[in-house]
Symmetry: C2
């Protein structure tokens, strides 16, 4: 079994902690002492040896990946010349892993998710690997905890009679669904047969490449060029050239929705994509003052429900339900209910050419 951590993405919704030069996956967002990508690698220990762990990352952040995952050899950090979304990134990982081991089974994992219950996560992943070996494209279906309108959903079909190594149900996938409106999301929750699409996939490398070939021939033809050149002197130039015309397409839309033999297995392990500052609150326990301290020393007077990430001492007086994010050069204070507007802040800074703050 292999794992490929997908470390693209800019994470602007976690500004000012997530920055152009250090996106959230390379930052210790949760105050755990480990960056999100380090925590993702840690979570796989026991399932995947260091030698079987790969990272797909943009050129800009390759050094951060080397530095933060020092146990990985250089060839395990696969560099994308530019961001082309998840289908080419997963395809590129498949090229490398198929080249190494034609029977490779690979778990593709976003670098920036928080999954507190490692044991449950590993059990689900083990079952998924078994199902993948049996010929399925498997996705982990996140057991939804509320009617979230910001995620895609997966509708499960019939139970699959697979013999997996754990007592973990496995279903066929009836449909992948786009982000729903609230009423639809509520009906999904009431139905019980729907999961959040957390973007975690497990499959054989050859099968994933075959699906890309069938559904995304323009992506596949470029991957085939890269694979053919992989051992030669032209590897770097072939990659660079092929990538210039590589289509931008997501694995969900481009492959999974139309794939054959797709399976889903539930994951109920406190998954959180830390997609916003207010989302972070749910993965950090409240302290005795009913505030959520990701980092920083605080003194609070009549203040509850705040989430704090600070590099200095913080005193709060009579404030409630705020996100307070304080880095060396920027301070963000927002009401938790409006934190999705962080992207507007980032957009304004970008339009003003304030690169040093991005």
């Amino acid at each position: 079994m292999y794992a490929a951590i997908l470390a693209g993405g800019s994470g602007t919704r976690l500004w000012p902690r997530s920055r152009k030069k250090q996106p959230k996956q390379f930052a210790d967002i949760t105050g755990s002492g480990r960056t999100l990508i380090q925590a993702t690698a840690d979570r796989l220990q026991g399932l995947v040896s260091d030698d079987e762990l790969y990272v797909v990352v943009g050129e800009t952040f390759a050094q951060l990946a080397y530095d933060q995952l020092p146990n990985l050899a250089k060839h395990q950090i696969i560099i994308e010349p530019s961001g082309r979304n998840t289908a080419p990134a997963i395809g590129l990982a498949c090229v490398h892993l198929y080249h190494r081991d034609p029977d490779a089974v690979v778990a593709f994992l976003p670098a920036d998710h928080v999954i507190p219950d490692t044991e449950t996560f590993c059990a689900a992943l083990r079952s998924a690997v078994d199902a993948a070996q049996a010929g399925h494209l498997v996705t982990l279906g996140i057991t939804p905890t509320f009617a979230h309108t910001g995620y895609g959903y997966i509708k499960r079909g019939e139970a699959l009679p697979l013999e997996t190594s754990e007592t973990q149900p496995m279903y066929s996938v009836e449909r992948f669904l786009e982000k729903p409106n609230l009423a639809t999301a509520e009906s999904f929750l009431a139905d019980g047969g729907y999961y959040w699409n957390g973007g975690i996939f497990i499959s054989r490398a050859d099968q994933m490449l075959a699906e890309i070939q069938r559904q995304l021939p323009e992506v596949y033809s470029r991957l085939a060029q890269i694979l053919a050149a992989l051992d030669g002197q032209d590897a770097a130039s072939t990659l660079a050239e092929a990538w210039q015309t590589m289509p931008d397409v997501s694995i969900d839309y481009g492959v999974m929705e139309g794939a054959r033999q797709v399976a889903v297995t539930p994951l109920d392990a406190g998954w959180n994509d830390v997609g916003s500052w207010d989302a972070l609150a749910s993965v950090i326990p409240l302290n005795e003052d009913q505030n959520c301290i990701a980092q920083g020393e605080t003194l609070t007077i009549n203040s509850q429900g705040n989430i704090i990430y600070s590099e200095r001492f913080v005193a709060l007086i009579g404030v409630h339900d705020l996100a307070i994010i304080d880095t060396g050069d920027a301070l963000l204070i927002g009401h938790k209910s409006e934190m999705q507007k962080v992207k507007n802040v980032v957009e304004q800074l970008r339009s003003q050419g304030r690169n040093e703050l991005l």
Copy 2:
């Protein structure tokens, strides 16, 4: 005419900008580019030459006073061995000024007030000096703008037929009044014959010393020792010794309330004692986003009524009526209506021995 700026006081209500090592009078609280004591000295230009300006300050802060007011000679910085409240501080200034000029008329001014309308302030002060020369102990009565319960009040008596250099009314003082409750404060405002006691006094030095002698003989006896030794080799040791047993008493309670020939002249010049972070808001104009920026670059989204003092870039999203005070080592965020609790923060830090944050 002389002026003596009283630069004692710790200013804990403006924590974390006002600090043990740099109280608010030595800080640029308003973002004007000048510290409060510098602005106080600036305000007197045109009335008092550099040579006629004195500062009374504790030993700890003498160097700050030298540095911030470089035009003053060393003897113009009068050092109190320790804080003994305003009557001894004013008495000590009188000793030095009477010794220099037996006919000295002195304006005693707190170092930490903001008075935006300098012209009106100077006109009131000129009239007060004339009245002081005619034998009155004069106080500037701040025209109240609302029923403040945190100040003492002055009830004016009959108009005095003094020939002053400006068209500025002068009244006898009927009474000094302690901080009132809200109903009483409201009745004062409705009456119209009451002023806030802003702690600004003008008198002849000899007359002030005579009042101290009459009303506070224990203070006077020590001042007399200091005066007698002023030119000799024992000046420093006499001061130190006399000060050890100097009573702690305010000029209002100890002298002004019981003084003869007390006069008051109105001051309507935007006076503000910057006694709290929310008070600061009224001396800094609102910006186009309806926020009050004392210092710092800000980007606001759906946020109004906040007061911001920051050493870094600040972004606000959906927050209202907050005071946001951000220094290099501490961040204070409070609702404007509860900012009087800053003193509780300072007390807790003190009880925890967190001297570096005080």
